[in-house]
């Protein structure tokens, strides 16, 4: 589905690596925005405006993906031709554990037990950060796509849990 993925790193002109400097990424984004934003072409011929609109859209999309470490990792796998699917197998025991934690969260939220909600969030944040560190190590040490995928699948569930805490939809 969709067209073959092109590198969002290339769109921003940053090195194709997991270990991106966030400030450098932002700086490049601003530079590229200056070049392609439609405001630069407000009075240009139609063809140029169409081009600016599509380039700026692609740029904004690329920045959004690369800004998030999880989505950046997923994109790197895509570029390797090993995209993470929507229905990757997940170990039953892991699912059960997550389910338990979510139930605990729902109970705490229903009871308006803010201390418990905060405790669950902190614990989950720690798991999330640890998994993300492992992803970074795997990319740095030439780990297999399979190993990275496993962490990313876990991260998806962790993220959904954290979204649940803040009452936000997953972006």
């Amino acid at each position: 589905m969709g067209s073959p993925s092109s590198s969002k790193f290339a769109i921003l002109g940053v090195p194709e690596t997991f270990d991106l400097d966030p400030e450098e990424l932002e700086r490049r984004y601003r530079e590229r925005s200056r070049e392609v934003h439609p405001d630069r072409f407000a009075r240009a011929p139609v063809a140029d405006r169409v081009k600016a609109l599509s380039e700026a859209t692609a740029l904004n999309d690329a920045f959004k993906v690369l800004k998030s470490p999880v989505r950046r990792a997923e994109h790197l796998l895509e570029l390797r031709g090993q995209p993470l699917g929507d229905k990757e197998p997940v170990p039953q025991s892991f699912l059960m554990k997550i389910l338990e934690l979510r139930e605990a969260l729902e109970d705490a939220q229903a009871a308006k037990d803010e201390a418990e909600v905060a405790r669950l969030e902190t614990a989950m944040r720690a798991r999330f950060d640890a998994a993300l560190r492992r992803v970074g190590q795997l990319f740095a040490s030439g780990g297999t796509s399979e190993a990275i995928k496993k962490e990313l699948i876990d991260l998806r569930y962790f993220q959904r849990f954290l979204d649940e805490v803040t009452g936000e939809e997953a972006a």
């Binding site: 009075r43 609109l53 859209t57």
Partner: protein, 619 residues
């Protein structure tokens, strides 16, 4: 019409001819202003009596329409035919305002079965839409600017509350077109304010813009770095403002008087309340008079009345900070916008929330118009180009899926322009049609979101359930206005879709109203229209020729033949004197070019975004 939707009608490439006549317009709930950049400095253009603010009030008289102070003076006497705070009705449907019908002094036309755009009855059987009322205000500002700048305008930037949804933005743009303005861009008001401040101070950092106007509240968190303004988050309440202060005061006084809520009395009470409130900005106590009824009003009583209203701004502020990923201490400065921020209690509350004394050295009534003028100057290509605005969409955009659940396609606070597409599939065997309901809002269930458009993708070849691949693409342009496209992929068949805006006006309606308004105008107007149409025709001819050269491969033979014929017709009519004939030929060319324009659009979208995942959709 994708090709020409990007090229807004009326846009001219001949910028040298009228350089320096771009304006910024703050189309406010209570007052409107026009500003321009002169010798590098943004300046508000006053009327001949040196008044900068034009009250956003329109009176429909027996013989003529009056706008501004004059209309305001007639409001108490003619409450039903004098429309103020029309901005609150922009992009609203009859259904939206049904609940507040009894609270407005206006006579609203009876709801029509299709629940369309709200209309005011203004006497003699005339019904006007909020778009038409706003256009009257914009027309006065346009004429004021043209007189002072010495000729037709190069274009205008009109500001809108950041929280305006798609229908409200579209309505504002329509009003601009109706007033004969070339709308270069819609700009979020808080962004405009920051632009006015940022340029003056050359500051870097994170700023909060707290905008409490007559009828709307907006909060935006902006980051300013290397001349790039990035809107990190926005929030607000599109039905909260200084008018609510006046209503609270007037409500109490009317209760004391035991007065019936008749339009004339309500209007008088609201005016008296506003005047008293403004006096209390400096004074500790004032007198409030409605007819013979007089009473004292002290600042303490005022503050007790308005405190609950002011505190309603706290939630959106905290949410915006959270969305931007910063705490209150992370804000380097707070910019105040809107007349209601002069109220001392508002300033104190802002300081309490952000832990910083707010900035206020630019007149909070003018700061938005000044910023809009700066942006107009940049867009017109005459101003500085070291500044760039990166705006976000205020509300998530999505479509309705199975069971009335909303699937978000572009989440709120995405930087624009933004695009995303998602694939859906059919749920029934041999399903040939696909209903698409486009909604805007944060809630998961469709009834809590705002309906923007419904359309049907027809002509899907019959196949087993789940086999069709319907790709729905959302594109939000730099004005924050949405286009939705859908096509079925497996068959390769391009099915045609019609997006019918639920609340805005259709292009035909705007054209009709435009023409009607010109029919009542004088010869000058007619020749201006002819000139405008000629320029527009020339622009379309040039752009079309360039596009045909550049993308010859996307042109099939029937389309090329049809376009060649339409081009010849348009060239012939441009030599004539009939602006409508030229206009019709432009539309005919637009229509003939449609398949080509769509092919171009689809290709650029293909390049820009790719499908995310396949979802089931029940239709």
């Amino acid at each position: 019409m994708a090709l020409f939707q990007i090229a807004e009608p009326g846009e001219s490439q001949i910028k040298e001819a009228c350089a320096g006549r771009a304006v910024g317009i703050d189309l406010g709930t209570t007052n409107s202003l026009v500003a321009t950049v002169r010798d590098g400095t943004p300046t508000v253009l006053p009327d001949e009596e040196q008044r900068a603010l034009l009250p956003s009030v329109v009176h429909y008289g027996d013989v003529r329409v009056v706008v501004g102070q004059e209309a305001q003076a007639l409001a108490a006497e003619h409450p039903r035919t004098t429309i103020s705070s029309v901005k609150r009705f922009m992009g609203r449907s009859e259904r939206d305002v049904e609940a507040v019908r009894s609270l407005t002094p206006y006579e609203l036309a009876p709801a029509s079965p299709d629940g369309r755009v709200v209309r005011f009855e203004v006497g003699h059987g005339r019904k006007v839409t909020p778009i038409e009322v706003s256009a009257e205000i914009l027309r006065v500002l346009r004429e004021r600017a043209e007189e002072q700048l010495g000729g037709p305008l190069d274009g205008a930037v009109i500001t809108v509350p950041a929280y305006f949804d798609d229908a409200q933005r579209q309505a504002t743009k329509d009003a601009g077109r109706l007033a004969g303005l070339e709308v270069l861009r819609l700009l979020n008001e808080p962004t405009a304010a920051a632009l006015a401040y940022g340029l003056d101070k050359g500051s870097q950092g994170t700023y909060a813009v707290y905008d409490l106007g007559g009828g709307t509240f907006d909060i935006s968190i902006l980051k300013l770095i290397d001349g790039v303004f990035e809107v990190k988050s926005t929030g607000g309440d599109s039905a909260l403002g200084g008018d609510d202060f006046d209503r609270a005061i007037a409500g109490r006084v009317l209760d004391e008087m035991g007065a019936a809520r008749e339009p004339g009395i309500v209007r008088r009470a609201l005016d008296a309340a506003r005047a008293a409130r403004e006096r209390l900005t400096c004074d500790a106590e004032t007198e409030l008079a409605i007819g013979k009824h007089k009473r004292k009003l002290g600042r303490e009583e005022l503050e007790a009345l308005i405190r609950p209203i002011i505190e309603r701004t706290g939630g959106p502020c905290r949410r915006a900070l959270k969305d931007a990923g910063i705490g209150p201490g992370g804000v380097d400065g707070v910019v105040l916008v809107g007349g209601a921020t002069r109220t001392p209690l508002v300033r104190a509350y802002v300081e309490q929330i952000f832990g910083k004394q707010p900035l206020g050295d630019i007149d909070p009534d003018k700061v938005v118009a000044l910023g809009a003028a700066v942006q107009a100057d940049i867009l017109a290509g005459t101003g500085r180009d070291d500044v760039l605005l990166l705006d976000v969409i205020p509300l998530s955009l999505g479509i309705e899926t199975m069971g009335g659940v909303v699937e978000k396609i572009i989440p709120r606070n995405s930087t624009i322009p933004a695009g995303a597409s998602q694939e859906f599939t059919t749920y029934a065997d041999k399903q040939t049609g696909f209903d698409i309901h486009v909604v805007q809002g944060e809630r998961d269930s469709v009834e809590h979101c705002r309906s923007l458009a419904r359309f049907v993708l027809k002509g899907i070849p019959p196949m087993a359930a789940g086999m069709a691949k319907v790709k729905i693409t959302f594109m939000v342009d730099a004005d924050g206005i949405l286009q939705v496209m859908a096509h079925e992929e497996t068959s390769g068949v391009e099915a045609k879709v019609d997006v019918k805006p639920s609340y805005g006006l259709t292009d035909e309606e705007v054209e009709r109203m435009l023409l009607e308004s010109y029919e009542h105008a004088d010869e000058d107007m007619r020749s201006r229209l002819l000139a405008t149409e000629r320029v527009e025709a020339q622009r379309i001819l040039t752009a079309t020729a360039a596009a045909m050269r550049e993308d010859a491969t996307l042109l099939d033979e029937p389309t090329r033949t049809a376009m060649d014929a339409a081009i010849a017709e348009l060239e012939a009519r441009t030599a004539g004197e009939d602006h409508r004939a030229i206009h019709d030929a432009v539309l005919a060319l637009d229509e003939a070019a449609r398949p080509f324009a769509e092919a171009r659009m689809n290709r650029s979208i293909e390049r820009a975004v790719r499908g995310k995942r396949v979802e089931e959709l029940e239709v």
